[in-house]
Symmetry: C2
Subunit: 218 residues, 2 copies
DNA sequence: TAGATTGTTAATCGATTAACAATC
DNA sequence: TAGATTGTTAATCGATTAACAATC
């Protein structure tokens, strides 16, 4: 009924949100390397942006630089982690225990970055019951129980194109709050459920086009 | 010295290029399902775009729809494949034979879509010589020979953050024409070499933020 | 023919860059 | 202090949407 009273409810433009993880990764790395301060010009050079874009972007988070010194790497890291919600673990389930799915489940970088895979599911009897690291591939029937029992936030979809929409429906029904889509399909879900696409083949196509434009071979 | 005489040299805006692979995947699928015609409104609905965006996007490729019927799925697929260079095989090398790298090398979808992995490389003696499907992990010393011998277009980088820039330098030196970056690093390369980022962790962060904004839990 | 759907132009919207006063 | 670097406003640039004449 009132105006939003909390600090920082202001929504950050999508294009800026997409860059914030890059600043976070870079700030993390600089701090680990013992660098204490970084300027917008240095950040821009490291990430392929103008210093102007960097300052605009960082003006969206609750953190300020200091004239003549720049940004504290530790402070920047903390503020970005807080804004992005990277300061606590997030629980994910992964659907599709093919090569790609199993590799993602085993990818230590996810756990290091706070994304815990707490379940791997598949519909094929051939893989149900097999181990993937410390987990065992479960049947799709067990999905709803795990999602509501363990407060699962995110579903990662790594199934073939033809199965993708059905799996997305099951995940939404089970109650996940967002989907990471690694399939070629476009997933249709209720408006309240965000979907982020991470399609490697599409990225390869985009790259192949850029390569071709540079100096056509055919 | 002359004006560009070829057809279609006009450069397509980056934002459109990024959507073309989606149209291609969808047109492929529709054709396979036996659907012969599709309207801009249907394409938009299937891919989460307005019909206006669809018509604008398709105006950049050398293909025309027909009033009252829409676009021929087969014609659309062919024109998009031609524009994107998806009508011939592209040879890739993959650097980094960890979980993710091996999974990508084994991912049949790449081959199906015309991206042939013709070499897997790693700098760690522990994995050199091991099999990955039909390939054997090679030492980085053998990279330059393979790239120029086999006309390799694309290098796929799947190594840890700290090794990414060094590997990118080696790939560029060896002569690849574009890089697909799956590491958290931002790669700095000569202006003529396009880089496309496909960072799964960054995508997860973006998603986690969207989820948090929807209904904050913390 | 009448109606639906295209291709394209013009209007709106959003993102990036430039510029500069404030400030450490 | 003088100089460098921020935060922010204004200007530019590009992308999306709306509108509509052309046309099958």
């Amino acid at each position: 009924m009132d105006e939003p009273a909390e600090t920082q409810p202001a929504r950050i433009p999508p294009t800026v949100v997409r860059r914030l993880p890059k600043y976070l990764a870079h700030a993390q790395r600089l701090r680990q390397m013992g660098v204490e301060w970084v300027s917008s010009a240095e950040l821009g050079e490291a990430l392929g942006l103008t210093s102007s874009t960097v300052r605009q972007d960082l003006s969206h988070i609750d953190f300020y630089g200091i004239s003549k010194r720049g940004y504290s790497t530790a402070g920047l890291e903390a503020a970005l982690a807080q804004t992005l919600g990277a300061d606590h673990e997030i629980c994910c389930v992964l659907i599709g225990a093919g090569n790609l799915g199993r590799a993602l489940a085993l990818h230590e970088e996810f756990a290091r970055q706070g994304f815990r895979i707490c379940g791997v599911f598949d519909s094929s009897a051939a893989v149900i019951g097999k181990r993937v690291g410390k987990l065992v591939v479960q049947s799709m029937d067990e999905l709803p129980g795990m999602v509501c029992g363990q407060d699962v936030d995110i579903g990662i979809v790594t199934v073939p194109h033809g199965a993708a929409q059905r799996v997305a429906d099951q995940l939404v029904l089970a109650g996940v709050r967002g989907l990471l889509n690694l399939t070629p399909a476009h997933l249709i879900v209720p408006r309240k459920i965000p979907v982020v696409d991470a399609r490697v083949v599409a990225s390869l196509r985009e790259l192949a086009y850029a390569v071709k434009i540079n100096e056509p071979r055919f």
